[in-house]
Amino acid sequence: MRKYEVAVVLAPTLTEEEVDQSIETFQEIAKEKEAQVANVDNWGKRNLAYPINKHTEGIYVILTLEESNAESVAELERRFKMTESVIRFLTIRVDLNLKRAEKIKSRRDSKKRLNTLSEDNNETQTVSVAVED
């Protein structure tokens, strides 16, 4: 299962109802292409770091999708390009990154365990030397 994070910046001219409506249509598109919407995060209005299409604010929405292929993401991106109220979007596949992060973490944990083990060994050795003396 792939996990995608789709970030969308909507124009600030939209009313709250219109924002909710467009979020719903995005979710419907995703469901049509057999993707599961894991999470919807609406950040609300935020100042943009630089003006885009003469807008100084943007409404940030972040969707997390789970699916086995990239069909829904491709369809969503196609729709974003056509929709005028979408001023920016960014799709990231996150499952690989998270997997890699977990791998690094497990490797670090095992290393830590090894270190503590070798410390224990050292202690037993010193003890045995003391007995010999």
Binding site: V9, A49, Y50, G58, Y60, A101
Partner: protein, 70 residues
Amino acid sequence: MAKRRRYCKFCSDKVDYIDYKDVRTLSTYVPEGSKMTPRRISGVCSIHQKKLSRAIKQARHLALLSYIPS
């Protein structure tokens, strides 16, 4: 300036994934919307610098960070 021992902050904090949404962390490596801090100054290790630069570029695309100095 006295020479300080530099270390990778991400390594010591054990960060495995740098998120573009975490603007507060990213902005410490992009002073006042200018260029990214080079590794030789910030002391970030190569693995994390790569992840950091990618996250900064993604944040810039979404207008969370600026491309030009403000």
